[in-house]
C-alpha cells in the first residue's frame, strides 16, 4: 500500500522561482522516507504541498490515498505535522497546546485529555506540562511538537527538519521516538539536512537539489552505487597541492574537506600502502590517514557536485558521477 504518491509535483513562486521542479516519489505504508537536501533545495516547499499548506503549481500528490488539492480535508485528517522550527506559542503551556491540538482534530474532550497526558508522558514532558513553552529548551519544544502531531494517531507523519539546531542528546531522543513510532506502524516522511539522520533512520532516502530529486534508494544501495572507498589524508604541514597531485595518481580526487586531501581509490583498500609510500618518497609527512567507506555525503557529492555538510567547495566536474534518474 502506498502512503504517499507524488507525480511531477512543481511549485513556482512568481515567474522566476521554481522551488520544486517536477518531483516524483512514492512512500510505502510503514516506511521512513528521508528527504535529504541543503537549505533552499525545495524540501520544505514539498512538505508544505503534501500537508496541504501550499497549493502545487503542477503535478499531483496523494497522501493516505487522498488528493492534496481535491480532498485536502481528508489529507489533514490522516496526517500529523511537525514543521520546521517547532511553531509553538511560547505563552501556552505544554498541556494547553496538546489539548488544543486534540480539539483541532475533533477528539472528544475526555479522549483528547487522555491521549494528551499519555503523549506528554511518552515524550518525557509530564513534569513540565504546566510550564509555558517559552521556558522549554529546544529539545523539549521538539518533543512537544512531535507529541502534538501524534495526538490524533495519524497514519502519516511529516517531520520537517525535526532535529535542526538540537544538541546530540536531544537529537538522539527524537530519533528513538521516530523509530518507535515507525515500529508501531506510522509512515514517516522527514526532511533533513543531516546525513547521519537520514542514514540512521530512513528505509529510503531521496536526495533533492535545486527542486529536483537527483537520487533515491535505500542508504545502502545509494552508497553501493558510489562503490569504492576513499582515502582521507592529513599532512603534518603544508604542500597540500603536491599531495593532491600525488594521490590523484591512485584514483579520482574528491573535494577537500577540513584541510584533508581526499581521493576515491581506484584499487580499493589495496591502494593504501602505495599511496603512503608515494607521499613518503615525495618527502611529505603524513599526520593521519583514514580509509573511509562511502557515506551518504559521498553520494550527495557524486549527485550534486558539493558537500551537504562542511565546506561548500565545488567538485571538479570529472569527479562527479553522472546523476541517475531516481528509482
Amino acid at each position: 500500500m502506498i502512503a504517499i504518491e507524488v507525480r511531477g509535483l512543481t511549485r513556482e513562486f512568481g515567474d522566476e522561482v521554481l522551488a520544486v521542479a517536477g518531483v516524483d516519489l512514492e512512500v510505502a505504508e510503514g516506511e521512513i522516507y528521508a528527504f535529504l537536501g541543503p537549505n533552499g533545495a525545495g524540501k520544505t516547499t514539498t512538505v508544505r504541498m503534501l500537508t496541504t499548506l501550499l497549493r502545487p503549481s503542477g503535478g499531483t500528490a496523494t497522501v493516505a490515498g487522498h488528493d492534496v488539492v481535491r480532498d485536502a480535508a481528508a489529507v489533514r485528517r490522516s496526517i500529523g505535522v511537525a514543521l520546521q522550527e517547532a511553531a509553538l506559542d511560547p505563552l501556552m503551556t505544554g498541556r494547553e497546546l496538546i489539548r488544543l491540538q486534540a480539539t483541532l482534530h475533533g477528539l472528544p474532550r475526555a479522549e483528547g485529555r487522555r491521549r494528551g497526558e499519555a503523549l506528554l508522558d511518552r515524550v518525557g514532558l509530564d513534569r513540565a506540562a504546566d510550564r509555558r513553552v517559552g521556558t522549554y529548551s529546544g529539545g523539549m519544544r521538539r518533543r512537544l511538537d512531535l507529541a502534538s502531531a501524534l495526538v490524533h494517531q495519524p497514519r502519516v507523519l511529516f517531520l520537517d527538519e525535526p532535529t535542526t539546531g538540537l544538541d546530540p542528546v536531544s537529537r538522539k531522543a527524537i530519533w528513538e521516538e521516530v523509530e518507535k513510532l515507525n515500529d508501531e506502524g506510522t509512515t514517516v516522511f522527514l526532511t533533513t539536512q543531516y546525513l547521519e539522520e537520514a542514514d540512521m533512520l530512513a528505509d529510503r532516502v531521496g536526495i533533492i537539489d535545486d527542486g529536483r530529486i537527483v537520487a533515491e534508494g535505500t542508504p545502502g544501495s545509494l552508497k553501493a552505487e558510489i562503490g569504492r572507498p576513499h582515502l582521507e589524508v592529513r599532512l603534518a604541514e603544508g604542500e597540500f597541492d603536491r599531495a593532491e597531485e600525488i594521490v590523484a595518481r591512485f584514483g579520482t580526487p574528491m573535494p577537500a574537506r577540513d584541510g584533508a586531501v581526499l581521493v576515491e581509490l581506484q584499487g580499493g583498500a589495496a591502494d593504501v600502502a602505495p599511496v603512503v609510500r608515494a607521499l613518503d618518497e615525495a618527502g611529505l609527512a603524513v599526520e593521519s590517514l583514514d580509509l573511509v567507506q562511502p557515506t551518504l555525503d559521498d553520494v550527495f557529492v557524486a549527485k550534486t557536485g558539493y558537500h551537504l555538510e562542511g565546506d561548500d567547495q565545488e567538485v571538479a566536474p570529472e569527479a562527479m558521477v553522472e546523476a541517475e534518474q531516481p528509482a
Binding site: R48, T52, A73, I79, L83, L91, L104, R132
Partner: protein
C-alpha cells in the same frame, strides 16, 4: 454537517480562550486595552470637565458620563488592533500553519481570534462601567441599558478585530499592524468619542458627523446619558455591521490570498 459545525464552534471557542489567555499573559497586549484608555479617561475627565458647560453640549450629570463611551470604544479599537498584532505574531512564528494543517474550517482561525476579542470587549465594557459607577455615573437606561452597552462594545470589538485580522492576514507582519496604532487615534479623535460632533470645528466636525465610529459611540453613550432612540440604535447597529462586513470580507480575501501564494 451539524457535527462539522459543532467541531468548528468548539475550535472557535478554544482559539478564543487561547486568545484571551494570550492577552492576559502578554502585558504589551493588555496595556493598550485597559491601561491607556483608563489613563486617558482620568486625564480628560479631570482636565476638560468644564466642557459640559459649553452651549450645545448634551445634558449630562458630569463629563465622565459623556466620556465613558469614548473610553470603551477606544479600548475596543485598540483590542482589535492588539488582536491583529497577535494574529500577525502567530503567522510570523508559524503557529497558523498548525491551525491550517488541521481538519477544521480555515476561517475558524480568524473567528477564534475574533471570539477572544469579543470577550475582551465585554470585559473592558464591564471595567469601564465599574469605573463609571464608582465615580458617580448614572446609567439612565438602567440595567438593560448597561447590558446593551456591553453588547455594543463586544460587537464593535469583533468588527474592529476583523479589520485588524484583515491587515494581519494580508501583511503577515506584526510591525505593520502595530503601525496602525496612530491611525486608531486619528479615527477616534475625528469622531464623537471625546467631544460632541457638532461642537468640533470644521472640517473635522463634518468628518466626525459621518464617521461610522460616531454612530457606534452614540449607541453606547445614549443609554448612559439619555434615552436610546430607535434611530441611534439602528445607526449603531448599521455602523457595526458595515465595519464588520468590511473586516470579514477583507479577512476572507487576505486568507485566500495567503493560502494561494503560501505567504
Amino acid at each position: 454537517m451539524i457535527q462539522r459545525l459543532l467541531l468548528n464552534l468548539r475550535v472557535v471557542g478554544s482559539l478564543g480562550a487561547r486568545s484571551v489567555k494570550q492577552t492576559f499573559r502578554r502585558p504589551q497586549l493588555m496595556a493598550p486595552i485597559i491601561v491607556f484608555p483608563t489613563l486617558l479617561l482620568a486625564i480628560q475627565t479631570s482636565g476638560a470637565g468644564s466642557a459640559i458647560g459649553l452651549e450645545g453640549f448634551p445634558q449630562v450629570n458630569g463629563f465622565l458620563d459623556f466620556m465613558l463611551a469614548g473610553a470603551m470604544v477606544q479600548s475596543t479599537l485598540l483590542a482589535g488592533n492588539s488582536g491583529g498584532i497577535a494574529l500577525a505574531v502567530d503567522i510570523e512564528m508559524g503557529f497558523t500553519d498548525r491551525l491550517l494543517a488541521a481538519p477544521i474550517s480555515r476561517f475558524a482561525m480568524v473567528l477564534g481570534r475574533l471570539a477572544g476579542t469579543a470577550v475582551l470587549g465585554a470585559a473592558t465594557a464591564c471595567w469601564f462601567l465599574a469605573i463609571g459607577l464608582i465615580f458617580g455615573v448614572q446609567i439612565e437606561e438602567g440595567v438593560p441599558g448597561a447590558l446593551l452597552m456591553i453588547l455594543f462594545v463586544s460587537l464593535s470589538a469583533i468588527a474592529f478585530g476583523a479589520i485588524g485580522a484583515a491587515v494581519a492576514l494580508r501583511t503577515g507582519t506584526a510591525s505593520v499592524v502595530q503601525g496602525l496604532f496612530p491611525l486608531v487615534f486619528v479615527i477616534l479623535f475625528l469622531s464623537s468619542a471625546f467631544f460632541p460632533a457638532d461642537l468640533i470645528l470644521e472640517p473635522a466636525g463634518s468628518v466626525a458627523e459621518y464617521n461610522p465610529l460616531s454612530f457606534v459611540v452614540d449607541g453606547i453613550r445614549d443609554p448612559t446619558i439619555s434615552v436610546l432612540t430607535a434611530e441611534v440604535f439602528w445607526k449603531a447597529v448599521g455602523a457595526i455591521v458595515l465595519i464588520l462586513g468590511i473586516g470579514i470580507g477583507f479577512s476572507a480575501l487576505a486568507l485566500r490570498h495567503r493560502l494561494r501564494t503560501g505567504g
